[in-house]
Amino acid sequence: MLSTILDITYLLSALGFVLGMQRLSSPDTARRGNLLATVAMSVAILATLIYPFENAPNNYLWIILSMIVGGAIGWIAAFRVQMTQMPQMVSIFNGLGGACAVALAMVELVLAGQQGGATYGQMAILLSALLIGGVSFSGSLLAYAKLEGRVKDANITFNGHNIFNLVLLAATLGLAVWLGMQADTVPTGLAIGLMVLSLVYGFSFVAPIGGADMPVVISLLNSFTGLSAAAAGLIYGNQIMLIGGIFVGASGTILTVLMCQAMNRSLLNVLIGSFSSAGGSTQKGQGDQVVKEITYTDMAIQMYYAKRVVFVPGYGLAVAQAQKMCKELDDLLSENNVEVFYGIHPVAGRMPGHMNVLLAEADVPYPKLLDLEEANDKLGDTDLAVIIGANDVVNPSAEDDPGSSIYGMPVLQVWEAKNVVVLKRSMRPGYAGIQNPLFFHTKTKMLFGDAKASLQELVTAVKSL
């Protein structure tokens, strides 16, 4: 009777996980989905706590204390962390989950040793949990350190690292298989050895992967943790752990693949080809200055949830004939109550009134067009300035570099906005032929490509929000 109730509770929790994840995959419902999963987890934990095991010592004091300590640490960490450091945090959390699986597997291995052996099936399960959990743990910690910038790639990689990894992997698996054969004795020492090996492998596996690829790796390690939880579920014959773990393992894997696709790379390329391309995909250096790129979706989010966005069109808008696309984006944003203005610099384009002609053609209402002064007044209180094929007219050298050929010309002070995104095709200069420090500004991100194509992508991205 009671065990049926426990089963049903677990069943409901499992449903909660699945439905929670399902909801998490759409922006509208994501928050509710997370809540649902949280509730499901709480219910499962609570049920596990109060279900009366026969003759169990229970040790409630230990448990409650541990839970309070762990919960408090997690809670505080989650609220202390800055938005930009979220991926690191997730990575740590994930590693700890893996460590938990390792702990369980070790205890059970030791107990099995003491109780005189286990079946082969049990051994397979225990060793998988140990191995996968271990890789996940050490790998996640290294990923964290990398994202935090605490380790430099150069210090932890060496020539032939990939080959070393293969050898290490083979050794680890070999040891695991051999250990599995010893089901009747379960040598504890070797089990500890396997644990160490798996930790080393996890570390070594992540070491050569480039910083920009870390989110993919974290997602992959996350699905590892899921699998180790599932294995632990098998140890205890516990369905919720099994289902939850498998589910996370599966969705984590597909998520990893999706993330790779979003970066236009294959998973293999991320894991193996990492040496050659390390960091290459996100940075285009210019001397020692660094240019940051932004993805369509990130930009779409920034725009969509902004209060005020100022578009700064330039000659590139005209060349790309992107005025109508620009209007379409404007319409989409305006529908979401984003205030959209156009900052028109007097010499933008190649003839007086060039931007006016184009924007009138696209039916942008006149009151949205701000001239230099009006725009500069508004820019300070703007969340995002989007520079669409403009260059000279947003060049800060005009204000701060007396050596510049345009020093003294009033320009649009887009850097006063909270964020700046520049849409252009390359790092080439504009009409005046001078370099633009705006592109290297801390607030600036670049979106390379033909302005019309980029705006089209942004329209699609905003629509999908």
Binding site: V347, N356, V357, Y366
Partner: protein, 357 residues
Amino acid sequence: MKIGVLKETNDRRVSLTPASIPKLSTQGFEIFVEQDAGSDAGFADARYEEAGAKVMDRTSLFNQASIISSIHPLSSAELAKLQAGTNLIALFEPFNDPEISESLKKQELIGYSMDMIPRTTLAQSMDVLSSMASIAGYQAVLLGAFQLPRYLPMMITAAGSIRPATVLVLGAGVAGLQAIATAKRLGASVEAFDVRQAAKEEVQSLGAKFIEVEGAKDDSDAGGYAVEQSEDFLKRQRAKVQERAAKADIIITTALVRGRKSPILLPASTVEQMKPGSVVVDLAASGGGNCELTQNGKTIQAHGVTIIGNSNLATEMPEVASTLFSNNLVNYLKLFVQEGQWAPDPENEIIKASRIA
């Protein structure tokens, strides 16, 4: 069926163009064209001859043709020269010249006035008033824009930002709508005004703003023509116009009420308030003008405002105007021909409405 095409005395247009001649010939018409009839519109005599017409002087044309086509009616002196029974096709404007019908009848001439063709959907292909009004509306904007000492579109330039000019169109008939469309194209802020109830939607259908004045008389039974409005209404309208006009850079008025004096939509007091340099183009000048100060056929300056009174702007685009007129005429003439013979059906709605003598 011998049709003669006259040279206009005071107009660069011509009522029939060479391109239309084959269409008439195949119906059985013989075409006589007065010397130099189309030269001002860009159609040399040679092109008429190539197309199959006979070019001749006015007198021989009068003697030979049984149907005479022109844009403006003949002077009474010339009418006297014609043989009885001759068919005349022209814009007689009987509303403005009520005696014309009598004088034609006296001379036993048959008169068809193309401006009396009903404004129905069916008669559109012969509706010269629409064709000409459309040209006039377009030209009015070009003329006004050229005269205006300011830009129409908005311009943010290194030498300062220029706000778009405001164009106010009074009377949103065919000419008014075309003016609205053209001014919008040039980038102006366009507002418009009319007393017909359907006009609001029509104006908005061109993306312009309609200025509403309540209490207009219903005109749905007037066959498409504007009806005269009450004095109180006109007063309130004038007040509203005054308010908007003071802000307008170009005002184009088109409210011509046929057979009556044009309503005054822009009294002198309003003009006084307008910005110097602004322009009024009054297409209703021939009916006395919608602007109190308009002088028909003249461009004057008053209170710093340029007032152009011209109800005949179509003549400034003689080539296309002649082409359209000519096409309308050909479509109209089709009604008169039965199996190659001149046999107008007196019961035909269009013929009935347009026959004035």
